[in-house]
Subunit: 415 residues, 2 copies
């Protein structure tokens, strides 16, 4: 049987997750992992741990040769990258949950792992407690992945669930999410979909071997969702979820982050509150679905701990797919969406659609459901940032594709 | 980066899954795995593969030193064990999908792995395409698992789904399942819950470190479910699923296989047809849910292939929990069930219950919903093998526990 390595952990950050890890490590009495130093910023806070564990100087950990594992759990992604880089170069392996840092420095982190021979693990960076990265790396190693989509941001899912179920305003729901420690310190990261985009760019690298910079991912968040969209959802017995999607076609890869109407047919329909859910579609295994808590101190800490444990067995990501996938072109697919605007004429807006299912007008409010190019959506959003755009369910498309008047007109005009 | 081992595979069995693996290996162009020999029993069948690949003599594979991996996919569990044992002793690693063989010879297989230093992997033996064993071994290594329950037999789930949705008779649904290759060659293995029990004993070993011999697992299948149970399910908007459950209390471990009424609150409610679903509950990560295809050539083959791929990286199960868990006592818990009988008096049967929620009589048919000891149920089933016993949902218990007449009477009698 493999011998386990003793891990002496230097921990950066003692917020919600850092404290969670400290507690979880104590509760689980892990045989080969021990926190020897904790580096924090704020000198005034009482951390409720032995004083000699705390330091305010990162070098006290980075220069300590007895520390062979750095666990990085701070907010600031640039400072985080500096710490991770220095740790790897100092011959320490690293566990981090900082998706922003990983997504922004993915290539650097790859070469740092290669050049130093040290391992960097970050299961907690995507879907907290769900072991999705490990499964993409190991289990889907051999199968051919065609699609991955999911609810990968806990706080927006919590906000959307509360809003839909209890008619809470966006602000009220967000406040509760923050009080519960589900929301990032900067809520914009969550609600505008930045956090989901960061995670999707990481997932895409492990799923398809195609890393996509977050800024290259078409992305719109939940900030423009109003009672109009909630009402439309209730009318159709749908829910609203912020989805991250990436799927392969013969032409290439389409990936984006967008709020979506989800119907009862989808496994994601029942993924509520702070839970995350990820659906994969592969050639051989077909559809698989994973769900679990996507935020919170202990669920996130448990993912961090399982990385720590894997390191005690010298586990590391092999990034097996990067060579096959890195050149897959990104495709501007045509997708079915609901688009709502207050300040664009119907004629102008409808010209942007490849195909229209339905048009609804009330006062100056206009919403169109139809097929539209991804690029077109995001061109509109640049000039009209308050537009609400939501992906529509497949079932809706199937039903509405069957002979609407507008279809007949198109057919006639072709004669 | 780790160097991968080249695997020369001797394959035993070329049925549904064996052929599936052959196709999947060809389709996925695996870089380091190749089938060099296939051993089959029936000399008359045309296998549609190169003649020189086929042999009818197992020793041609077992004595071939160029074969470093044996993949065992035959039906006969005793013959399978003989092959696996000889393969390990011959210094070959082994991948198998034979849950019956593993469950019946678990301890032997452990010592064989230890003494030979060879690895034995069997992800496909539980829930086909769902990577549940790998996750229990690796990912839940550090977390504390309290409960695992799920739909772990594809063909019974297919039968129950078709019966409930289309009012098909049990026989009709079973025939279709067999035609589709979802059912074991011996349907009794599926419908009487033997297959689920075999899987549960394997899962329990990897989840809690407590291996339970299949014959020690309380088990009842779906063979006694009639239109009466289907009607009761429809009345309550429930579905019927054959569930395997294992959960820890302070006293010990309770584990059993039993058809269960499942309500919309459960993640398992939407797991239909041949899909399997497994729900875990841990101290830190809380509830997690996995679902995927639980039967079928390609899904099963894809799990086998992912084991093959893991072996090329020298992966092996560490059975980390066996030392902590092996002495956990098995507990005879009190559980809420629906029990239907035609030939027992109400007074006699109701005496067996710790607490009764409702009693229904129609002609000579009697069903009682209440709390009853596991042991009592299975004592009844020994003498009345045609009784239908179904586990009841938590929500039902919560609702009915709130002040029924019978409760008041009990309270009065205590005065």
């Amino acid at each position: 049987m493999i011998k386990r390595k003793q891990l002496h952990i230097g921990l950066f950050g003692f917020g919600c997750v850092g404290k969670g890890l400290y507690d979880v490590l104590n509760l689980s009495k892990h045989p080969c992992a021990e926190i020897v130093k904790i580096c924090v910023k704020d000198k005034t806070k009482d951390r409720g741990v032995a004083k000699d564990l705390i330091t305010f100087d990162k070098h006290e950990i980075l220069n300590d040769d007895s520390v062979n594992l750095v666990v990085e759990l701070i907010d600031d992604s640039e400072e985080a990258f500096d710490i991770v880089k220095k740790a790897l170069l100092a011959g320490k392996s690293v566990v981090t949950a900082n998706k922003k840092m990983i997504a922004e420095h993915f290539d650097d982190l790859l070469s740092l792992q290669a050049s130093t021979g040290q391992a960097l693990l970050y299961e907690a960076a995507a879907c907290a407690s769900i072991p999705i990265i490990r499964n993409l790396e190991e289990y889907y190693d051999t199968d051919i992945l065609n699609r991955i989509e999911g609810i990968i941001n806990g706080s927006t899912n919590y906000i959307l669930t509360r809003s839909l179920n209890e008619g809470l305003s966006y602000k009220e729901a967000l406040q509760i999410a923050q009080q519960l420690g589900y929301a990032e310190s900067n809520p914009g990261l969550d609600v505008e979909g930045h956090d989901a985009a960061n995670k999707l760019s990481i997932l895409s690298a492990h799923a398809f071997g195609r890393f996509i910079l977050p800024e290259d991912l078409p992305r719109t968040g939940i900030q423009n969702i109003t009672s109009a969209e909630l009402k439309f959802a209730r009318q159709n017995n749908w829910k609203i979820k912020l989805l991250a999607k990436a799927y392969k076609t013969s032409e290439g890869l389409t990936a984006f982050v967008m709020p979506s109407y989800v119907d009862d047919d989808s496994a994601l329909y029942k993924v509520d509150d702070v839970f995350n859910g990820v659906q994969t579609e592969t050639v051989f295994a077909d559809k698989q679905f994973f769900s679990g808590r996507g935020a919170g101190a202990f669920p996130t800490a448990s993912a961090v701990l399982s990385d720590i444990s894997a390191l005690s067995y010298d586990y590391r990501y092999e990034y097996k797919k990067l060579n096959q996938g890195k050149d897959i072109p990104l495709i501007d697919d045509v997708i079915p969406v609901y688009l709502r605007s207050e300040d664009v004429d119907e004629s102008v807006l409808s010209d942007s659609f490849e195909h229209i299912f339905e048009v609804f007008k009330s006062g100056n409010r206009l919403h169109i459901c139809g097929q539209i190019k991804l690029k077109t959506i995001f061109t509109w959003l640049k000039t009209h940032p308050n537009m609400a755009v939501l992906h529509l369910p497949e079932t809706y498309v199937e039903i509405n594709s069957k002979g609407l008047p507008i279809l007949e007109l198109e057919n006639l005009s072709e004669l």
